[in-house]
Assembly symmetry: C2
């Protein structure tokens, strides 16, 4: 573990000097990891509002649904370029479930595109009616899951 960590640190120092400087040597990439987890958390927040309506835990409200979907889309416009530095995977550092494959298998771009498209479809649909919201939430949940399955360490 120590060896793995030291190897990770050696790589970091070369690749990400700028990020490293502000994230403090004691917990490499801590800030970047917290930031990307915050992006995920905000997605969960807005998606949760849509999910609660889809499941009729809360009554469907066109304005609230459109607003939640618009905010989900807004989260996608936040700059994440400093949030996924090389060496911030779960084999290199603590407190992340991000698998190394994110940086190596070349598949994440396509999955991100699918997710973005599903979010845009939800944004277009959510304010119409409950049926439209429900139709859009399936592909959206699937897009979330597809990425988590390949790129996030399972809790089990």
């Amino acid at each position: 573990m120590i060896r793995k960590l030291l190897l990770g640190l050696a790589g970091l120092a070369v690749v990400t000097g700028a990020v490293f400087a502000s994230s403090h040597a004691a917990a490499p990439h801590k800030g970047a990891i917290k930031a990307r987890q915050s992006v995920m958390q905000l997605r969960a927040h807005y998606l949760g509002q849509l999910g609660a309506m889809a499941k009729e835990e809360t009554p469907y409200d066109a304005e609230a649904a459109a607003n939640a979907a618009a905010n989900l889309a807004l989260v996608n416009t936040l700059d994440q370029s400093m949030m996924w530095p090389k060496g911030s995977d779960n084999a290199s550092v603590e407190n992340t479930r991000a698998l190394p494959a994110i940086w190596t298998d070349g598949g994440i771009g396509a999955k991100a595109n699918t997710f973005n498209a599903a979010v845009e479809a939800m944004k277009a649909a959510a304010g119409s009616d409950l049926a439209a919201l429900r139709a859009a939430i399936g592909p959206l949940g699937k897009a979330c899951g597809a990425c988590h399955e390949d790129y996030r360490q399972s809790n089990r």
Copy 2:
């Protein structure tokens, strides 16, 4: 503590049925609290990039500075209306430093306005040059601190 918690829960059930439903009874407002903490974390992320340049820990880069400031402003446009439900203060629930005064003393609106203005000023200044960025970061840090001082439990 238990009594305080139960009183808090009784209030919650009346005021925030919708939020409560999706945040699960075992940890009231957990989702809302995580969401607002995520907003703060993202502010720290983008502000950190500006702060690193101000302190010359990283070289000033006009494009990167403008981008960080634009993203800081973008975070302010995220809908927080479901993130601060009544009864989600640190006297009522766990895992938050949000003081009850947020909901009671009537002062948070003015402080939020000051913060928003400081963010907009930074957005206008950051891409000009290092001196402009530095001039904008003082009022911005002060606006952050003013709110934290009155409305966030000190760690001490």
